[in-house]
């Protein structure tokens, strides 16, 4: 059994507001194995983006990070900018949601592509250029030499996202973090990018952590899934297990509110009532309780701990009975 590439223990990301502490991430434990594709699914206020940013120390200046994030045994929480700077881009890379804003409009594609390699590995211009062209090929950009001299605004959204992926992979990182990489793209382009991510993972053996709100994307690409709600992990399982035997009411609610593209259609969509949580004003007890069809008095006392229901399948819920109650 290989050691975890990334080991996160009791991670908390807190912001101070006038109203008190805002727990964007509230006690997350997860391990990432080498080459694994981990999907993190959640809505607004779930903390999924903050979790990702914490892995690279990229949270906003007011954030207080507690807990432990170990990359190959090296502690990242509290590590200085120098340590993190060496890791960012080189060993752990990130791609963001909006390809339009992730690229510098004033620099050519070539400059931006080779920047990382020249900074981290001291590569010469020629060597970096060669590698960049390799990567442009790997992400299936047509006419790669021509793109080198172009600027971001000359390319479409899908191509920009490919360039961003190429930039992330140029130093051959162990871990690729992706924050909603396809949300801003058209659905046909999204399908291309997801196929690309699958392909690249097979070739480079990098581990990928992909954050999304779309369960469909998770089903397409992830090996293992974390379901987050109000800064906590509420369910964790292998992807097939999660879809077949979701055992947290929130996951069940999400799954059942998806409209199938074929087969019978309900007259009314099963939906989760209420509103997404406000991280600044969470109730005591389970944060999902106000919207949960199965909540009972124990749920209001203290948040349920993450506990196993089957090998490799964890969930944080006090309710033991069957799910499937239609709302």
């Amino acid at each position: 059994m290989s050691a975890a590439l990334l080991a996160i223990r009791d991670l908390r990301v807190t912001y101070r507001t006038e109203a008190g502490g805002l727990h964007a991430v509230d006690g997350v434990n997860v391990d990432l194995a080498p080459g694994e594709f981990l999907g993190v699914v959640g809505e607004s206020g779930s903390g999924k983006t903050q979790l990702l940013l914490a892995m690279l120390g990229l949270n906003a200046p007011g954030a207080r990070i507690e807990g432990s994030i170990r990359y190959r045994g090296q502690e990242l929480v509290g590590a200085g900018e120098r340590v993190l700077g060496c890791l960012r881009g080189a060993r752990i890379a990130m791609i963001f949601q909006d390809p339009m804003t992730a690229l510098n409009p004033y620099l050519t594609i070539g400059t931006q592509l080779t920047e990382g390699m020249r900074h981290h590995q001291g590569a010469s211009r020629a060597a970096a250029r060669r590698r960049a062209l390799e990567l442009l090929d790997a992400v299936h950009i047509p006419e790669p030499e021509r793109r080198f001299a172009q600027h971001p605004h000359e390319l479409s959204g899908g191509m920009r996202q490919r360039i961003v992926i190429a930039m992330a992979l140029i130093c051959e990182p162990d871990i690729l973090l992706a924050d909603e990489p396809t949300t801003a793209l058209d659905v046909t382009v999204q399908a291309q990018i997801l196929a690309l991510l699958r392909e690249l993972r097979a070739r480079t053996r990098a581990a990928i952590v992909l954050v999304t709100h779309d369960l469909g994307v998770i089903a397409e690409v992830a090996d293992r899934v974390l379901v987050m709600y109000a800064g906590r992990v509420v369910e964790q399982a292998g992807v097939q297990r999660l879809f077949e035997h979701a055992s947290h009411p929130y996951t069940e609610g999400l799954r059942r509110s998806i409209v199938p593209l074929a087969g019978p259609l309900p007259a009314r969509l099963p939906s989760i009532g209420g509103n997404p949580p406000n991280p600044a004003e969470l109730p005591p007890g389970c944060p999902f309780a106000p919207r949960c069809a199965y909540a009972f008095d124990r749920c209001g006392a203290a948040p349920p701990p993450l506990a196993p229901v089957a090998p490799g399948h964890l969930r944080a819920c006090y309710y033991d009975g069957p799910l499937g109650r239609i709302r």
Binding site: G273, N275, N278, E281
Partner: protein, 280 residues
């Protein structure tokens, strides 16, 4: 259907009340407000209770330093400085506030209309602003003085004629960016007339910007005829005696600084308080 669960606990109703609460939380603005209130109070009361008035010379008490019978001393004609400074505050505040209100009114309406209308109307209106910008302020005052004699009203007109230009430009810029916001589209989809659009939807969303760029400083250094003196003239008179009688300069200067800074901080606080999106 429990779809309407409130995410936040109940809060006091009313836009103005919320704004007031926000303002109260902004400490510098509160201090500024208190200071201004104090100055206004002094400016109103002192001339009423003081045994001296601002114009009568007292040949026995020329250039007295602060202390004794004259709390802040006297000037070259033996006039009590405290009373003169208080009168100066009165004038300056009055002129400043009134002129500001006038220029804000004109500037906002002009800028919002130009920005909202767009096209040729916008170009025409802003070219007029550009041309008026080139009119130099002091010569204008001189010309007006020659034509209409020295009067209080003149000062208002002169300031108002100039300072609305800045506001108009800023407001037009803001309107341009507001125009493309979806709630403006939504209002257009309701078939509102252009005037209603501007007055009900555009202008209230400009308030913050306008206060920020408020020409509270417009009264700086303005000349008003003697013996009535604004803080500006008191300062320039005092500057002549900087070496021999520094208090003639420093005291009005301190008051002017206090007033200007207070308005500035108050403006900050007001802008934040009036913005309904400020999550405090």
């Amino acid at each position: 259907m429990n779809a309407a669960i409130l995410p936040r606990p109940a809060r006091a109703a009313g836009q103005w009340r919320q704004s007031w609460e926000r303002l109260c939380r902004h400490r510098p603005a509160l201090v500024a407000l208190a200071l201004l209130g104090f100055v206004v109070l002094l400016a109103l009361l002192v001339p009423l209770v003081s045994p001296y008035d601002y114009a009568t010379p007292d040949w026995d008490e020329l250039y007295q330093p602060p202390g004794g019978g004259h709390l802040l001393g006297t000037d070259g004609l033996g006039r009590d400085l405290l009373v003169r400074v208080m009168w100066g505050c009165r004038i300056s505040l009055l002129v400043g506030i009134a002129a500001s209100l006038v220029s804000v009114l004109i500037g906002v309406l002009w800028g919002a209309t130009a920005g909202y209308a767009g096209g040729t109307t916008d170009s025409l209106m802003m070219r007029i602003v550009d041309i008026l910008y080139t009119v130099p302020f002091i010569p204008l005052v001189i010309v007006l003085t020659v034509l209409f004699g020295r009067s209080f009203l003149l000062v208002f007109v002169a300031i108002g004629a100039v300072s609305w230009l800045d506001i108009a430009r800023i407001v037009r810029g803001q309107t341009l960016s507001l125009k493309n916001r979806e709630f403006i589209e939504a209002a257009r989809a309701l078939g509102l007339s252009n005037t209603t659009m501007i007055v009900r939807h555009v202008v209230p969303n400009l308030l913050g910007v306008v206060i920020l760029f408020e020409a509270f400083l417009s009264f700086l250094g303005l000349g008003v005829h003697a013996p009535l003196a604004s803080l500006g003239t008191l300062i320039s008179d005092g500057a002549n005696h900087m070496k021999s009688h520094p208090y003639l300069l420093t005291i009005p200067a301190v008051f002017l600084t206090l007033i200007v800074c207070s308005f500035s901080y108050l403006g900050d606080g007001l802008r934040d308080a009036l913005d309904p999106r400020e999550q405090r």
